[in-house]
Point group: C2
Chain length 203, copies 2
Amino acid sequence: MRIIETRKAPNPRRVRIFLTEKGIEMPFEGIDLMAGDLKTPEFTAINPMQRVPVLLLDDGTAIAETVAICRYFEELHPEPALFGRGAAGRANVEMWNRRVEQGLFAAVTHVFRHLNPKMAHLESPQVAAWGEANKPKVHWMLGLLDKVLARHHYIAGEEYSIADITALVAIDFMKPAHLEWREGHANVARWHDEVSGRPSAKA
Amino acid sequence: MRIIETRKAPNPRRVRIFLTEKGIEMPFEGIDLMAGDLKTPEFTAINPMQRVPVLLLDDGTAIAETVAICRYFEELHPEPALFGRGAAGRANVEMWNRRVEQGLFAAVTHVFRHLNPKMAHLESPQVAAWGEANKPKVHWMLGLLDKVLARHHYIAGEEYSIADITALVAIDFMKPAHLEWREGHANVARWHDEVSGRPSAKA
């Protein structure tokens, strides 16, 4: 098995943090998305969506999509559980992971891709007004997370989960997107300091 | 248990089709998103994201997000398996469901919400250029699915799965979004005729 990724992109970081939390070591193969490596015929045959990360199994099967890769490793190595415990617990983690993906991660990504001239080759056409429209969405979601983190230690409750990984990566991705977040979000700041201090955050 | 939904919205339809395939009967409670029911304090307390569907468990727990609800029922009623079988099989279904969600469902939704004046109260600001930018994304993804459906009976392989439900609902949602899809997509048409013929499609 090996994982094809791009070191600086946010989705591959989600997978690296997840694997580090699980204590799983994997070989990584880097490709350069700024050099057009996602659009080669070779990579397109592996992932027609032209995105990283991709997990390649030993039989040649390619598994793309960050959460599909993480869920595969959750099944192979159930502990520590990062997708929750029990049917209702797992549904709760899935709910929060998706809320963070759609409300925060996707919104930050839209700001970054539609307002950064260097992204023009990956996001065509860039729609600056759509980038701008996502800025208040990001701040609305941070406000919701701040309320949640006033009541719970982690985003989906009292246990660290994939929802925390998604939120950490999304919030750290705000820096290259030129978005500020600390002011007025003391509970998010408390949580961010803590999850950033876990060894996995450096993965 | 009961499900709060809006009959005409696409995500609640995904849950209804899923439950019908499983043979599960559930009470549904309808709310009117065009009348502002999603933004009331009562509904916001149930789902702060102000979206349907929401599953309410008997202990009062609210589970939002379509796929979280479906996965909860998959755990309670594993057969027929709609999330795949085995670790690699389940990762494959998750991958395809997410590809369809992001590449097709989200793109159709952006066309609908940003170009339909009636959606102005739910999508603010509407960015018409972003709606237009999603039209070629929809057609690119249909082209990919047409190649996939030339090789496989269903989207994630030879078994019907949640990825087929997501794609069916997304394609049927193209009609109110004023998007055409049949021309040049003979394999998608073959698949659409078949999955539309299942009793669940009327749910």
